[in-house]
Amino acid sequence: MWGTAGGVTDEDRLSRAQARTIIGRVFKMAAPFRKTMYVGFACVIVTTCCALAAPVIVRHGIDAGIRAKNTQALNQSVVMYLAVVTLSYIFGRMLFLYVNRTGEMFLRVLRLAVFRQMQRQSMAFFDRNKAGVLVARMTADIESMAELVQFGLLQFLSAGLMLVFSIVVLLLLSWQLTLVAMCVMPIIVLASIKFQHDSNKAYLTVRERVGANLSALQEGITTVRVIQAYAQEQETKDKFFKSNRALFDSHERSVRISTWYFALVEFSGVFASALMIGIGGWLVHRGDVTLGTVVAFTLLISSLFDPVQQLSQLYNTVQSAGAALSKLFAILDAKPEVDEHPAAITLPTSGVLKVDNVSFTYATGEHPALNAVSISVAPGKKLALVGPTGAGKSTLAKLMARMYDPVSGTVSYGGVDLTMGSMDSLRQRIVVVPQEGFLFNGTIRDNLRIAKITATDAEIDAAVDAISATEHFAQFPDGLETEVRERGSRLSAGERQLVALARAALVDPAVLVLDEATSNLDPGTEAEVERALERLMSGRTVIVVAHRLSTVQRADHIAVIDAAQVAEYGTHAELIAKNGRYAALASAWQTSQLVTEQN
């Protein structure tokens, strides 16, 4: 009613071929509930016919009944009218249910399919796509279609049908008056096209400025302490007011565009009925049409104009839904890079983790993150990876857990190439403990069970015990049953780390890949995390990306990774004796420690 178009940017507009493909795929996805869809369509057809039948019945009543002074014909048409009204009510109710049901079922299928496909993607996909964008695909993009599904689809169908049917009915009633009506049509059509174009542009500006205004508002509220500390209230207000006035201006412009359009539409309606009566009256005098026809035309004229308006306004909604769909289909079409080999075998329960001549690049054309690296870790041994930021140590660790596949060379475990191992066995043998413990909504126990869905409560308790954290979690009001609240805001960084370690303990893998935290944990839990880590590592093969001297000193072997290659390899003592890069790094670590202590 207020002409709020969906808003679509030029680059989002689809070509005809793209649109055809999308429509085809939508119908394919709708297969499971095609029946519901067809019932919905049928309801639309019936209600549209009813809407058009009403003026025709009124015409019959006036001409055959009243003007011919035929009471029976009049009564007949009243009964018919009542029947049509009842029919349109019944089918109207069904229409809402079936059309909405179809749409919502489609969105549900779409949500599930896109999410499933997103989850199948490998890490590289999540590196390439920002988290915010992926979330937007699953939320904003799908919700943008909800409007279309709830109102748009229905309006679109009925407006289209209404337009076609009314032309047919009008032609059947009187071709002369139809011709007159068609003379006014171009005004509406052209105005509607221009309006949808202009209002779309204005709407995009409004949307952009609403965004800017909200950011300014949020920035003002979240930085209020800084603003007050520097007594910059006035300046901040002035800046906000500017963005606020810019928003008002864009609203005003958008209203101005719709002002003349709605004025023209209203004028055209009245003008058209004036024409109908003028020319129709003349035709009645000539005996070409009946008065009933003229009356029917003045009533029907709006069913000719309204659909044009509706269709033009829906154009943008349909376009932006199309754009959203094409982005979603792109996700559905994405092939995961790291996938299970069709002939995958179970990895052996123990063995040497061996990196053989491995090269790796995150994106084609970029500098290699690893260049012909070879290294191996014997069962039960600990390897520390050190080196400058960005040299490739984390990449190497990730490849050793098959979070990525090498571009060339192989990573193998117990003699089996990881790319040939089944995903299940890979996850049982090798577990990655990230820098920060990530928590999902739910209880602590739910968060542990993520590691092994089939784990019994007893197994989970045992895993917590294995890292000596039973006592710590018992301190929470509901123990392991405690809700972690929004992303674990209830737990400290150290406690989140404990959860991550307990998860690893639950899987009980042969190999652990650790990414050591760079920043310090809260002093209270730091010691507990250290102890848990100690227990978890004992007896397992460990690869650790190290940032601290203490961690490195405890490793059996150390590899210095620099410029995508293994620069040095050996034990702590060997490398110190060599007096190379590692020795330099170790002495730098020691000095910073001394400085701190002297202070």
């Binding site: 009124v58 009471t71 009049l74 069904m94 549900r108 988290a131 979240t222 009245v270 203490s550």
Partner: protein, 602 residues
């Protein structure tokens, strides 16, 4: 769970809600009064539109009765109708324009009032308030109000139209009017009930959508964990549950639509059936003309939209009232920290030989809530130019000291002095301009480096900016940014490292050359290897200036002349670092807990 209220309690609550509501409406009335001239214009336009619009069917009737049924002047009536078309077109466009413009203007002004008020509210308020809540006051609540105001002129003309049409119908034929109008009040009732029921339903849908979004969000951010353990199915099951919930809630909404919207459509049609049936017979009996009958038809269609709109505005009004109450609540909150009635001036020349910037806490007692004192009997004299490090365990009240000096909070008892003047006797702006702060979590604005550094001094020249940046050790890396000082930084701009952010914050703190510098340990959020750089910058800016360092790391303490050890809200010891380290066990304990990570490294 329902709690049982006594009659008196219910009465008090209702009375309170009543006051709140009437305060909300008062706010709206005040806003509208400012725009009364344009709103009046809108009303006049709307009423004229209603008048002309109502005249159209009358003219149509005349055209049919005189021009078609008889051999009267048809062209005259046709021209009159076309003329009315021009008028109603113009007026309806103008009515729309005025209504929307005025409602947007009211929204704009109210948002500015809200923002200005929020920015001025004391920090204590903001510590308790949730950003999301305040944001929704200034966005969705204002939208409700705008949606209501826009309907005011439109509703006014709708009411006039309904009255005029009803009058004409009864004048033409009371019996037929009665037949035609009987179903119409139900349109209004249904529209109102629909609006009331669909609103909570769509809010429920939104809530489900938000839950789905949070599952997606955690699945994307936690993808490493999910992939690492092969827990895709767990998340998929969660998502399916949310998708099913959305489906369930949207279908509930669809059911509401299906039970109201077709009914709202069908009710006026029943009137039309009645008009054809009863009216047809009355034409046959010669009681009315055929033109009357056609006019009746047209009039009834004219009533449909106004009746629906009026039904809607009742529901809109209820929501707007709730929004107004919430906004009024914010606007009526007074800042507890304000300029004094008779402000004093800070001395511009130091007393005696000391430099400016002497700070004194005199028997200060303070707690965020009365039951939990954070500082008690806190007394310290800091000479101008002296630097003090405040050391203490988490929760010992370290950061509170800075908040009291800035007057983010007022003491419960005792006084805080800057250069001999009680901070409560100073204008807030005068006080705060003399204090440069670097907060523990560095807050940068989404703006250029130049704006961020020059934040406290809008008149700062490029030289001023560079001088401050050089002092803070930021000039060199700023030079390497893509656009130098004009590079946009912050959340949506170029991302800086923790250490770089800190140095920009330090430059911002000193650009206005404040008498006192407060550094809430700038090194705590930084990678241990970068600590040195920050400390160097801190050393430079502290020289010759009163500085209060809230220390979280041992390295920072060495920068200060004296160390204050806070324990349980009181000063446990004051002295040089060496002296305290040698004599005070508690001091050594606190140091050790700070030092923990490094100790592990041994």
């Amino acid at each position: 769970m329902s709690t049982i209220e006594t009659d008196a309690e219910v009465a008090t609550r209702l009375e309170f809600e009543q006051t709140q509501r009437s305060e909300g409406w008062k706010l709206l009335r005040g806003m509208l009064r400012e725009q009364r001239r344009n709103l009046l214009l809108g009303a006049v336009i709307g009423i004229s539109w209603a008048g002309f619009k109502t005249a159209v069917p009358q003219m149509t009737k005349n055209a049919i009765n005189q021009g078609i049924e008889k051999d009267g002047p048809l062209l005259k009536w046709v021209l009159i109708i076309a003329g009315l078309g021009v008028l109603t077109g113009l007026l309806s466009g103008m009515r729309r324009y005025v209504a929307f413009r005025e409602s947007r203007w009211a929204e704009t002004l109210l948002r500015e009032r809200l923002f200005a008020h929020l920015i001025g509210l004391n920090v204590g308020y903001h510590d308790k308030a949730q950003t999301g809540q305040l944001m929704s006051r200034a966005s969705s609540d204002l939208m409700q109000i705008q949606g209501f105001i826009v309907m005011i002129p439109i509703t006014l003309s709708n009411v006039i139209q309904i009255i005029a049409v009803t009058a004409i119908l009864f004048y033409t034929d009371p019996v037929l009017a009665l037949v035609a109008l009987v179903p119409l009040p139900f349109v209004n009732i249904s529209a109102r009930r629909f609006s009331n029921r669909i609103h909570p339903a769509s809010i429920a849908v939104q809530a489900e959508q938000a839950q789905l979004a949070s599952v997606v969000e955690e699945s994307v951010s936690g993808v490493r964990v999910i992939k690492g353990f092969g827990a895709e199915q767990v998340q998929f099951d969660k998502l399916r549950k949310e998708a099913d919930d959305i489906f369930g809630e949207t279908m509930k909404a669809a059911k509401i639509r299906s039970s109201f919207l077709p009914a709202i459509d069908v009710l006026p049609a029943l009137g039309l059936v009645g008009v054809l049936g009863v009216g047809g017979h009355r034409v046959l009996n010669g009681q009315i003309t055929i033109g009357d009958l056609v006019a009746f038809n047209v009039y009834l269609t004219l009533l449909i939209w106004p009746l629906r709109n009026i039904g809607m505005i009742v529901a809109l009004g209820q929501r707007a009232a709730a929004a107004l109450v919430r906004i009024h609540e914010v606007l009526s909150t007074e800042s507890t920290i304000a300029d004094p009635a008779n402000p004093k001036q800070l001395p511009s020349v130091a007393i005696g030989a000391t430099t400016l910037g002497a700070v004194k806490f005199d028997h200060v007692q303070f707690g965020y809530s009365p039951e939990q004192p954070v500082l008690s009997n806190f007394t310290i004299d800091i000479a101008g130019g002296e630097s003090i490090a405040i050391v203490g365990a988490t929760g010992s009240g370290k950061s509170t000291v800075a908040r009291l000096l800035l007057r983010f909070y007022d003491t419960n008892s005792g006084h805080v002095f800057l250069d001999g003047v009680d901070v409560r006797k100073l204008k807030l702006r005068d006080l705060r301009q003399q204090i440069g702060v670097v907060f523990e979590d560095t807050v940068l604005f989404n703006d250029t480096v130049a704006h961020n550094i020059g934040f406290a001094k809008s008149t700062a020249s490029q030289q001023d900016l560079e001088r401050a940046a050089k002092l803070a050790g930021a000039h060199d890396f700023i030079g390497e940014l893509p656009n130098g000082y004009e590079t946009v930084i912050g959340e949506r701009g170029f991302s800086l490292s923790g250490g770089q952010r800190q140095r920009i914050a330090i430059a911002r703190a000193i650009i206005a050359d404040p008498r006192v510098l407060v550094l809430d340990d700038a090194t705590s959020a930084v990678d241990p290897s970068k600590e040195g750089e920050i400390r160097e910058a801190m050393r430079t800016v502290m020289s010759g200036r009163t500085t209060i360092v809230i220390a979280h790391r041992p390295g920072t303490i060495a920068l200060a002349d004296r160390v204050v050890l806070l324990d349980g809200g009181t000063i446990a010891a004051i002295g040089t670092h060496e002296h305290l380290a040698a004599t005070n066990t508690r001091y050594r304990e606190v140091l050790a807990s700070m030092d923990q990570p490094k100790k592990v490294a041994n």
